[in-house]
Symmetry: C2
Subunit: 334 residues, 2 copies
């Protein structure tokens, strides 16, 4: 069974125009691979870095793109034990230059799939894993965030930031978010983010000290980095963990040796890719997240949904930084 | 019993001229404090950073200086259990803005003293703890260096570098050193450093790949940092640990997020101060090091000895970077 279908591909790295919708033939899944018909996929900053050639994973051409999609299993490889034809699945990002899910069909090894939670819409179901697995390993494996801890989440309007907020709240930690301008303020307040710093208007250091009563934050989940790190380094508590998982600030990120030593702090160069490759850890994460989604404690925010033909508009929307939560592309309108 | 004696002090931060030999009155030791008559003390880069005001420990004025000295116990506080009058002791660097040992007499809390090893000279005995405790916690607590591991030691001619070389060799790791010019090459070869990179003449990356047969280094013990880190980042093996414990390179040190993520590497902002404050860890370190000194497996290199009146020449010699090993000031010529 060979399938002809449309997928998003690129043949060289560059800006958004390197992406094309192309007709390809998809071979049968082999071994631990699962083939599924995609209903919707989500965009991530990692996808932008991928087509630009700046991601930790370098593409091999022609390169498919995307790591989060949901849909129905069509066929499975002979070593697949966890899924069968007809199952509704959703994919988990991992370090691969082979698999990409943005298209009408996708193949993913079974370890990097989960069942699609029944209480989520199709758009929500493809918006789980990047945000929650990234936050999970950062909060609980690199850090050990627990009840009462102060957690600082720059760029909290991103899906990654909001996912971390939900997971931190769920264990009783006190999450403090930041966002650049007051544009998204009302929406973020409505989402329950009470401690919010508007970085263009307020001193991050002063506000963090106020909110934490001088105690400082013990965990930072930072996709901004660059010169922004100087705004919070003095507000760390002793033994703090600083997760750097992105470089949204275009300025170089300095290595703050003395501030880190003074606070006995750890700065971790973080990617969930380096954690999900350990299948035991990955399975622990899957259970943890699926359990809390089922209970309603976690629920992804979908910012906007685009049609498959408008996938470039979806990317442009991401690049415009207007979203709060996930940008999703709907493939089959079943 | 009050003692009048000469000590090195400073009243403001600045360059070397802020240091003065001053006559002071030393009060009796109290509680866990031990008073000892200093025979010799050693200089460290940390002392330079201390009088410059750049060290992680900030001075309170008038500030004594220095963390490594050896001598004979004169009097002990009422809670001292480990030492008695007449014992020969040597001091261990820790995070303090109160105690300093460069002078005719010094007071140090008993936890931060050890017996002076009998098989070492006075000059060697004050040259133990900064180099070996710094290397010990880096190699075995932050890292887990073991037999067969490739360890890269920039600035290997420093006492810290050579101390790490000895400890790494002792567990069977393969230590690769670097030094800026060929000036110290012969002396370093004579000390047993067979794999030596001259950074002004050779490509660090190329040589590391050659020496490790393409495997890369799993541990870096770097007091240089700055732009120098780019010379070895591509030569790390997966899961490498990079210890940054100094900033000898005057250029800013960038935080290399993507290279670290690609290698699953950890970059640790390191000071032994953050380890010796745990008394159990400190005691483990003391036993480990003293045992190996007794067996002759570790032996500090003394580069040059100065008279107490020439202490500024000793500092100038350190600033000139000519030394291989420790710079020591002899106080009493008994």
């Amino acid at each position: 069974m060979k399938i002809n279908c449309n997928v998003i591909q690129f043949h060289k790295t560059g800006e958004l125009d390197v992406l094309n919708m192309e007709n390809v033939t998809i071979e049968d899944p082999v071994n631990d691979e699962v083939l599924f018909k995609v209903d919707a996929f989500a965009l991530n900053r990692a996808d932008v870095l991928h087509y630009q050639g700046f991601h930790t994973t370098l593409p091999t051409f022609p390169a498919r793109i995307g790591s989060e999609a949901t849909g129905e299993v069509i066929k499975v490889g002979n070593k697949v034990t966890d899924f069968k034809v007809g199952d509704r699945v959703t994919s988990i990002p991992f370090n691969t230059s082979k698999y990409g899910v943005q298209g009408e069909y996708a193949i993913v090894p079974q370890d990097y799939l989960s069942k699609a939670p029944k209480n989520l819409t199709v758009e929500e179901a493809c918006s789980i894993w990047m945000q929650y697995s990234t936050a999970y390993f950062a909060l609980f494996h690199v850090g050990s965030v627990k009840k009462g801890d102060y957690v600082f989440i720059p760029a909290i309007s991103s899906s990654a930031g909001y996912g971390c907020f939900e997971l931190a709240r769920e264990v009783g930690a006190i999450a403090i978010g930041s966002t650049r301008s007051s544009t998204k303020k009302e929406e973020l307040k409505r989402l329950g983010i009470n401690d919010l710093i508007i970085t263009n208007e307020e001193s991050v250091e002063k506000r963090l000290k106020e909110i934490t009563n001088g105690e400082g934050v013990s965990f930072v989940y930072d996709p901004v980095a660059g010169s922004f790190i100087h705004e919070y380094l003095d507000s760390l508590s002793m033994g703090a963990v600083v997760i750097i998982y992105g470089l949204l600030d275009p300025n170089p990120t300095p290595y703050p040796l003395v501030p880190l030593i003074r606070k006995k702090a750890i700065m971790d160069a973080y990617s969930q890719f380096n954690h999900v490759e350990d299948i035991n850890k990955l399975n622990e994460c899957k259970s943890y997240i699926l359990d809390r989604i089922e209970k309603g404690a976690l629920k992804p925010i979908v910012s906007k949904v685009f049609d498959f033909n408008d996938y470039k508009k979806a990317y442009e929307y991401m690049l415009s930084n207007q979203q709060v939560g996930k940008i999703v592309v709907r493939v089959n309108n079943k």
